[in-house]
Symmetry: C2
Subunit: 487 residues, 2 copies
Amino acid sequence: MPIFEKARELAVINSSAAVIGWDQETYLPEAAAKHRADQLAWLSSRAHELSTSDAWRRDLEEAEAADDGSDFKKTANLREMRREFDRATKLTVELVARDSVASSLAKHAWADARERSDFSTFAPHLETLLGIAREKADLWGYADEPYDALLDGYERGTSTAAVARLFDEMRPSLREISAGAVEHSASHAPSLPPGPYPVAAQQHFNARIAASIGFDFDAGRIDTTTHPFCTTLGPRDIRLTTRYMESDFTSSLFGVLHEAGHGLYEQGLPQDDFGLPSGSAVSLGIHESQSRLWENHVGRSREFWEHWYPVAQGTFPQLAGFPLEKFLRYLWRAEFSPIRVEADEATYDLHILLRFELERRMVSGKLAVKDVPAAWNESFRELFGFAPEDDRHGCLQDIHWSMGGLGYFATYTLGNINSAQLFAAAGKQQAIADAIGKAHYLPLLDWLGKSVHAHGATLDPAELIRSATGTAPSTDAYLAHLKSRYL
Amino acid sequence: MPIFEKARELAVINSSAAVIGWDQETYLPEAAAKHRADQLAWLSSRAHELSTSDAWRRDLEEAEAADDGSDFKKTANLREMRREFDRATKLTVELVARDSVASSLAKHAWADARERSDFSTFAPHLETLLGIAREKADLWGYADEPYDALLDGYERGTSTAAVARLFDEMRPSLREISAGAVEHSASHAPSLPPGPYPVAAQQHFNARIAASIGFDFDAGRIDTTTHPFCTTLGPRDIRLTTRYMESDFTSSLFGVLHEAGHGLYEQGLPQDDFGLPSGSAVSLGIHESQSRLWENHVGRSREFWEHWYPVAQGTFPQLAGFPLEKFLRYLWRAEFSPIRVEADEATYDLHILLRFELERRMVSGKLAVKDVPAAWNESFRELFGFAPEDDRHGCLQDIHWSMGGLGYFATYTLGNINSAQLFAAAGKQQAIADAIGKAHYLPLLDWLGKSVHAHGATLDPAELIRSATGTAPSTDAYLAHLKSRYL
């Protein structure tokens, strides 16, 4: 089918850009940045050109006209390719260009404003980006409110109202759990024996663990970057990165576990469909469910460390006299931090609830840009009990808005919710639960492979969760998990 | 100028392929090879498409018509772009496709034939490739013999007769020098104190040396591969590789010195002209002159080691009681090996002379393919005094023919000749000679930068040598160098 051939070609282009982008983050010499940007821009132009071309449209229309619906996967692929094509082509060239300039200016302005903790210089940029976001939403179309159209770009088939319902449901429990966790943690002052934990030993330990949970090193690697990430350079080429602190080996390890969760999803997608929706991840909320599952449900569990802590003690001699219980308390420490990226499992979602509510009001026009700092601080005080010391530790902390990434934040908490629901469903199978009890995770991975990865993007996220767990997305399992771990 | 913009775009495409190719050699996971080949094929098609397009032709013609010859660099750029365009477009699409299939089949057949040391199964492939090479030569055109047209692809402006003249001139001296060197070496049985020379220490030592000769690590790196190479990922992004033997630290070091020689050339090319002939290396023979200069004239010299040997002794404790004289004798060891890639400085060129003569006779039809093994063994015996034990150690040892690379080998010895002529010319300047005496090489690099690198490909190789040294290419300096070191 010609349109599928075009989709595979697009994947070759995009994955080439991924190779070049990976090298940019890992090994690029300092002076090479300018030309590297030219290479990425060229590939991105070719990808855009191809995926919005008349030939693409024609091939897609022909395939749609010829499709009799008898092949579920094919029909799903065409439906999703249509969705992506429409999202890309409904925007005018003028708007895309304006958006690109505005984001580029905004990113610089944001970095500068954050540095000086001065929201007023970022405010006009945010105003512009909000206007562009509303224009996009109008062109894409939406059912209830413009925010729906933005959210749909990251978590398709989910409505703002549906997310708000989940978040509202969680809110009281999250406040109770986080407050309890922080109080308990403060009374125990958990800590780790001092370093150094040598980087080479961390690398060896992390690689052993990644391999044991099923990450395939014949089809992937781990390298070092300032900010950990996972990227796909081909159907059998998944690159993870992490960063190392000599004072705390768990920092690099949880980076690896989180990114390996993303990587296991990518390695589990149907290889032969690489470049087609059926061979692609479905959404950020599902992707994050995989990373959070391996990071938190597996990597922070007692069962996991009953097996791995003796190995850690053999690797890092300073752990020898440090008991497992104290180590677990360290892993489960909780603190109210003003900064999202430093937040722990017990307090993280409060940061997301705040951002989601603010974004929604900003996009709908109910919250004026000039009032964002005050609204942020008020919400923050309500959720955390104190106000951030300045905007740098408040509404200026995240890069997302400056890149026009409105609608993104919610997927972090959707990922947390999904991770718990999936983990609980898998654990209902006795064989999987027994294996998990012995820190054997391949049966769990196998279940995720069949229930989640194998579907690619043929089902909407909510359908996928229902198909995998038997119930619609719900916060029950997640709140139960948090309560049992933190209260 | 539109044609120059197109040339820069082509450089973006080709350098993107270089990033992807570099990663393929350094960090590619095992299972990722198939998709990687798709990425490289896609980029190579785009490069071919662009550089042979009607638009390219039109822009080039327009620029040529508008050129009044008043700007030397511009005129040279247009002349060289014309040369490349004609070489690419004079071949028919049918021939290019046939060539690609034939080379691909031949490469597999060669690997298999070499494995089993059975020339007969490779012979029909070589026959086909020779036929294609003659067809190409006819389409490209030549003055005296078809081999001229093949050579011109690697060393432009050089004729077969001119190369033959140089090689014939060298032949008696080379035989005398190599025989003397091998005899002297055999009587001293030079060796290095046993390893291990730890890889991390080698890396540190090599990087110090590379930096000291001027390799800019802000615009380049050194990584590890089975076969050392140098590749250009952008005007300020030059990647070297080497390989490590724990038993001999000089193996990785000379890999680095050789590749750094290539890299210094690439780093010295005019950055703003990246993608234009004036910002590109001119030929393989000049490129190899830079690698051989740093490897042999600098890296195997007494002056170099008078400075660096104490550092090596500090780095590798087993060298402590091993005197510099013995170490130099180890570096200058010579042996008649049947295998070119294992050959030392004193015997290397004999391998090239043999191949050049055989290739020339094969292409002209004076040597039938079926007679190649016998002719090889006869020539080999004449030059080295013994015949290789089998074709695997004889006419099947090199990959070049199986890739259709007829005409390539000569550039290795041209590089050696050029390296000596350039090094001798630089050394005539007292300040450079004084600095070299103290193992300070930045004045030498500066001279090479101005005399060689800065010209890009605006001069033919022979013109470049004359412009840099004041005389036409000659074997005098090279033979003098070999005699002084080995006799």
